[in-house]
């Protein structure tokens, strides 16, 4: 029997408030949908008023998703910041894929357990004119490295995710996605 779980790929993102973690999760998820896949997203924002940590869970598959919204293991991770990443650390599967924002991230990674892709995302974003684009850069890198979302998908996903009153950012976001995609080459 071919397990229905075989095709499921998990992604967990962690960062601190304002780094665009939730948006990146949405862009990747919407991108996967634009590519015709099945997706599940569950965000946890910490206690509303405690400020600080923000993380999100995305599952992508070609089949209906079996995974529940809270994961106990993840195939891949995007680490935007080190501050609240401890709980995630143990969840990364052996042989997984970890994207780390080296511009900011200050902690040890178990490089022998999983593949680490270093992305100076905040620096690149700052070069692109806005440090807040770091998450978009990461999304671009992730799409290509993971093979889960196409660049077209990401761009379409970004368009669907950006709220109307932020539409002036679409172009910059697109550039950031493209930049990330390019960096992952």
């Amino acid at each position: 029997m071919n397990s229905p779980l075989a095709g499921e790929r998990e992604l967990m993102l962690t960062g601190i408030g304002g780094q665009g973690v939730q948006l990146a999760a949405q862009v990747i998820a919407q991108g996967a949908i634009a590519d015709g896949k099945e997706v599940l997203v569950f965000g946890s924002y910490g206690g509303m008023m405690r400020g600080g940590n923000t993380d999100s869970t995305v599952v992508i598959s070609d089949q209906p998703i079996e995974a529940p919204p809270v994961l106990s293991a993840t195939w891949s991770a995007i680490l935007m910041h080190h501050q609240y990443w401890a709980p995630l650390r143990v969840l990364i599967s052996d042989g997984g894929l970890v994207l780390v924002n080296t511009s900011v991230f200050e902690d040890q990674l178990d490089r022998d357990r999983y593949r680490v892709v270093e992305v100076p995302a905040t620096d690149v974003a700052t070069d692109l004119g806005n440090p807040l684009l770091a998450a978009m850069v990461m999304a671009g890198v992730y799409g290509r490295t993971s093979g889960l979302v196409s660049l077209d998908g990401l761009v379409e996903g970004m368009r669907r995710s950006v709220p109307p009153y932020r539409s002036q950012l679409i172009e910059a976001n697109e550039a950031a996605l493209a930049k990330g995609w390019e960096m992952a080459a």
Partner: protein, 356 residues
């Protein structure tokens, strides 16, 4: 059918409700029900429907009751405390034979008894559907409105924080803005003056003091209707790998999805374990549960409470297979019922420990 969109469970359910013909909604904020209320408030005006920000849950259920008497599909809902406040009305709405959909976005799974036995006074029961995830919630929301209309009864959709806050890709049918047909028992005032004006009452119809009005007969008819639902409503269940399972594990709702996933993984790892996920909690799919469990040496029930559905599983199997309770409440500081014990490794471990 519209395009597939990534939406949060709350919004998906709201869209599904409106697509199913819901034209009235009333609610009072309470996490994780609030989001559903807010989406209904946004959507209903699109179809000339009404969404009331009721001043309390007691008033919300009363408004929904009133709207239901007009034959338009109506819904309400709440969470925990708010549902408790609605119990008096839910009991009587059942006796008044009114269709109503109740979205119970619960915190944890402590409210299974309230949902399935009716927390209100009297001997009523109503249909309860427990989706495991967003796509199923969309389907069951549609079904809930259909069943409510067909059986003239409240139908509860029992969700939780996970369901409310998970985004999944779903296809929600588009809204039908045609004026809905209203059933012939519904009120619109027009039979007044005819000598036989309609009445909608939890005490039954007919004229006081005349043959037609007979409280005893009405209650007997209500009881008969409950029986008719108990046997006539098609029980729904999702079960897998039960044929050759040494242990079958029962669970429902979002938690059912965790358990199902744990079982899939354990199967992948070669363990002979099956799962049973009741979807109609009332009527409980007793026969199917009995059948699913009958081949295995043991059954287990995982629910996030001190043991409630386990009674129904035991009543379904009646000693033919030992039924072990392996759940338990799980709470974190938020009180939203998303405690730390609800995770696949812990569940898997409990399952493995229970293997015969």
């Amino acid at each position: 059918m519209s395009e597939r969109v990534l939406i949060e469970g709350s919004e998906a359910m709201a869209r599904a409700a409106v697509a199913a013909g819901c034209r009235f909604f009333a609610g009072y904020p309470m996490t994780p029900f609030t989001e559903l209320l807010e989406h209904m408030a946004g959507l209903l005006p699109e179809v000339d429907g009404v969404c009331m920000n009721a001043e309390s849950e007691l008033e919300a259920v009363g408004m929904a009751w009133g709207a239901a008497t007009t034959g338009h599909l109506a819904a309400t809902g709440s969470t925990g405390q708010g549902l408790s406040l609605m119990q008096e009305s839910l009991s009587e709405i059942t006796n008044a034979r009114l269709p109503l959909v109740v979205f119970n976005m619960a915190r944890g799974q402590g409210d299974y008894f309230q949902a399935t036995r009716g927390g209100g006074h009297g001997d009523y029961r109503h249909i309860v559907l427990a989706p495991m995830d967003v796509p199923e919630a969309v389907e069951l929301t549609q079904l809930a409105f259909d069943m409510a209309g067909q059986w003239r009864t409240p139908v509860m959709v029992l969700g939780d924080y996970y369901l409310a806050h998970t985004y999944q890709a779903v296809s929600v049918p588009s809204f039908d803005t045609a004026a809905p047909e209203v059933p012939n028992w519904a009120l619109d005032g027009s039979t007044g003056g005819s000598g036989a004006a309609k009445i909608v009452s939890p005490l039954g119809g007919g004229v006081e003091g005349e043959e037609g009005f007979d409280l005893g007969a009405h209650y007997a008819a209500c009881a008969a209707h409950i029986q008719a639902m108990a046997t006539g409503v098609e029980p729904l269940i999702d079960a897998g790998f039960c044929e050759d399972a040494e242990l079958v594990v029962a669970a429902y709702g979002s938690v059912g999805k965790f358990v199902r996933y744990a079982c899939l993984r354990l199967r992948d790892a070669g363990h002979r374990v099956g799962y049973i996920r009741p979807i109609t909690l009332w009527p409980f799919p007793s026969e199917a549960v009995h059948k699913a469990a009958s081949g295995s040496a043991k059954a287990a029930v995982y629910e996030q409470n001190m043991g409630q559905m386990v009674d129904d599983v035991r009543l379904a199997t009646m000693g033919t297979v030992p039924v072990e309770f392996i759940g338990g409440p799980s709470w974190d500081h938020s009180g939203f019922g998303i405690g730390p014990d609800i995770n696949v490794p812990d569940i898997s471990e409990r399952i493995l420990e229970t293997m015969p």
